[in-house]
C-alpha cells in the first residue's frame, strides 16, 4: 500500500480521530492514501462511517494489539 500521508491518532478520544482525519484529507489529492493509527475503540466504526460519507474508500484495515490501522483512499 502506497501511503501518501500518515496520521498518528493514537491516544486521541472521540471526536478527534475523524477531526484530524478530515484535516489531513483536506491537503491530499484524489486517489492518495491516508494511513491512520488509532487506539479509540469507537474509531473503527467512526472512521468507516466517515469514509463512506465522504466517498473515500477504506483499502485496508488491520489491528495490532491495541492499535487500529486504516488505509483510506481519498475519493
Amino acid at each position: 500500500m502506497n501511503t501518501t500521508t500518515f496520521l498518528d491518532a493514537k491516544g486521541l478520544a472521540c471526536p478527534m480521530p475523524i477531526v484530524r482525519a478530515k484535516k489531513a484529507m483536506k491537503d491530499m489529492q484524489t486517489g492518495e492514501v491516508l494511513e491512520i493509527h488509532t487506539t479509540d475503540k469507537g474509531s473503527v466504526s467512526d472512521l468507516t462511517a466517515w469514509a463512506a460519507s465522504g466517498n473515500h474508500e477504506i483499502k485496508d484495515q488491520q489491528q495490532e494489539s491495541d492499535v487500529f490501522k486504516f488505509w483510506i483512499q481519498k475519493g
Binding site: 478520544a13 472521540c14 471526536p15 475523524i18 477531526v19 478530515k22 466517515w50 465522504g54
Partner: protein, 159 residues
Amino acid sequence: MTEQKKTTIVLFSGDYDKAMAAYIIANGAAAYDHEVTIFHTFWGLNALRKDEPIKNNKNFIEKLFGNMMPRGADKLGLSQMNFAGMGPKMIKHVMKKHNAMTLPQLIDMAVEQDVKLIACTMTMDLLGLGEIELLKEVEYGGVAAYLGEAQDGQVNLFI
C-alpha cells in the same frame, strides 16, 4: 460535488456534560463536512461567557443573575452527580486520564472548524448578559436565524 449538508444544534442547557455532548457532535459534524451552527439560548449562553468578571451597566436583578450563573464553559456544573462542584472536578480528572477533550478545548476546536456559534439575543436580555461578556467569535440572532438554518438541516438537535 454533493450539496452542502447542515447540522444545527440548539444548546439550551448549561450543564458541562450536555454542552460537551453538543460540542462533540458539532465537531464530528464539521469533520463530516457539514455546515454546523450551534444556537445558544437560556442556560446554554453560559458556555459562551468569558471567564473574568466584566463591567457592564446592570440593574440589581441582572447583577444577581450574572453573579450566580457560571462564568464560562469551564465553570459549568454537571446535570447529574454535581455534588456541589466535586462532580466536575472528578470528571475532569477522569477525562484527562482518558485523553478526552475538555469543553473549552472542544469550543476552540469548533471555532477552528468554522462552526457558527450564535447567541440568542432575547434570552441574553432576560439573563442580563451583554455582548462584551461573551466570546468574540459569537454571532447574534433570534428564532428566525435558527429556523433559517434548521429548515435546510439534515441533523437538528435540541440539547
